[in-house]
Subunit: 296 residues, 2 copies
């Protein structure tokens, strides 16, 4: 997905949010803002939003000298997710449709996205869980269930720290033995890296690889050769979150995108309401979307 | 009030909203966005937000060749306000406190602000009226009533088209004979100009002057000599809306600001919640604010 004009104001807001999280020095905030405005003024609008965000966050890391400004936020949401995990796992187990419940909950975890909401509270995560469990979700999950059953080798592209704990609920349903989880190659916003996979115990359950990139999505040209081979060879790819949708929606291979549509631009591209729970197959007609209007 | 870093993203959004209202040509949207980003990247952050908006809207008018892109929107909200005026006038007349009711309603009219919400619907105007009438408004209007009674010559700085019809409710309470209304010197966003004052019959009720400027606020250095003299000589100034607050909040003279706090930056500067009804005296301690949380 290309960058829409509407994304530009959002980049400016996100840059300010990010640099404020990194340093209280207003001179650096101003310097960063001016540099971002200059960069955006010259950007190639055919780039995807994550390609643009990658540049902005490289700038922030360079200006502040901090390699991983979101480390403490990532730790916080990993802990929060681990705290609620046992209860969510029990919910999946006693559900009449464990696969559907697991998909709903993994979408709930997708609210842990500091690029969209840098002020996310614990309460909002709990609200997202309630919403995902109760929203109308006209899910004929048959296609997803069949494709995942038939695949011998599933590549699961993780999105954010904290969220990867929610992903585990779905991975357990897919049988972990055939799943490889890919995380980011180095820190970018609050996207999960190998450190998060280890801290949350995911590396004990499944094989975890990194994609070699610091983009908040999956820009294949920016990923390592090893990752790209794995991406090409997997029977099926599951891609979590907006960033992966934005970078892979036009890639010619079988992908299931699982996300919460958190911004108007994505929602328009997916032809759904903001807040919708989305499970969509790349290039395919099967679209299974929840209605965001039932609980909030 | 200076421009805060948070205003920058809002300028980008506002620029896109404005240019889209003006032309469907996406090449012009992109050209404008790039020019705005370049301008913002080099801007003097000590300028007020209206000074920045003035530059942006000059760019839009130049690029599109349209001198008054909001003309039809202004006509629409003038008509809407004239349609509801008789009912609002009756409400003020039968109110136990006509001055308070008139102030509340003139604040309701302040939602007609295309800089903040270019998609404003008729329904939202009606909601704003209900809100303004019902919100907690711990108004000790004594100071305002006393100051306006004592003043022989009141300069009323109008804000937007449509809104000026609501202002009439308050002007009637102040006794029109001693009020001069100032509108903008030429079109800027949907700010009222002499054309709106004429179209809505305001010129039949009071003396109306223009301030000689195309800024969406009152930048004194940018106004005509005649206006500045009037501003200096008036016994009392009433300034409507965010733009007038942003440009006059630090000017050393007696001013009553009347507005709805529509954005987080203004609300923080005024130390109130977003959505609050605000009547504040320049430099004075008397602050009379409504609570935005009662009806929505």
């Amino acid at each position: 997905m290309k960058t829409f004009f509407d994304c530009i104001a959002c980049f400016v807001r996100q840059s300010l949010d990010s640099v404020r999280m990194t340093t209280p020095d207003e001179a650096i905030h101003e310097q960063l803002l001016r540099e971002v405005l200059r960069t955006l003024g010259e950007m190639d609008m055919h780039l995807s939003p994550p390609a643009m965000a990658q540049r902005i966050h490289r700038l922030i890391r360079k200006m502040t000298g901090r390699d991983d400004p979101y480390r403490s936020v990532k730790d916080r949401f990993n802990r929060l997710a681990l705290d609620v995990y046992p209860e969510l796992e029990a919910r999946v187990e006693r559900s009449a449709n464990p696969l559907e419940t697991a998909v709903r909950l993994t979408i709930a975890g997708n609210v842990i996205d500091m690029g969209v909401n840098s002020q996310l509270t614990d309460e909002q995560v709990h609200e997202a869980i309630d919403h995902a469990l109760n929203a109308t979700f006209e899910a004929n999950l048959a296609a997803f269930g069949e494709a995942t059953s038939n695949a011998g080798d599933i590549l699961y592209l993780a999105d954010n720290a904290g969220e990867i704990v929610f992903d585990r609920l779905l991975i357990e349903q897919l049988s972990p033995g055939k799943v490889t989880v890919a995380v980011k190659g180095s820190p970018i916003i609050n996207d999960a890296t190998i450190e998060d996979a280890e801290a949350t115990g995911l590396t004990e359950l499944v094989k975890v690889v990194d994609n070699g990139s610091d983009a908040p999505g999956t820009i294949l040209d920016d990923c390592s050769d090893a990752f790209r081979r794995r991406f090409d060879e997997a029977d099926l790819v599951i891609a979590k979150g907006q960033g992966n949708y934005e970078t892979l929606s036009e890639v010619g291979r079988d992908i299931f995108f699982i996300l919460k549509a958190k911004c108007p631009v994505i929602a328009r591209d997916l032809d759904c309401a903001v807040g919708s729970l989305v499970l969509r197959r790349s290039g395919a007609k099967e679209t299974i979307e929840g209605d965001s209007h039932t609980t909030r």
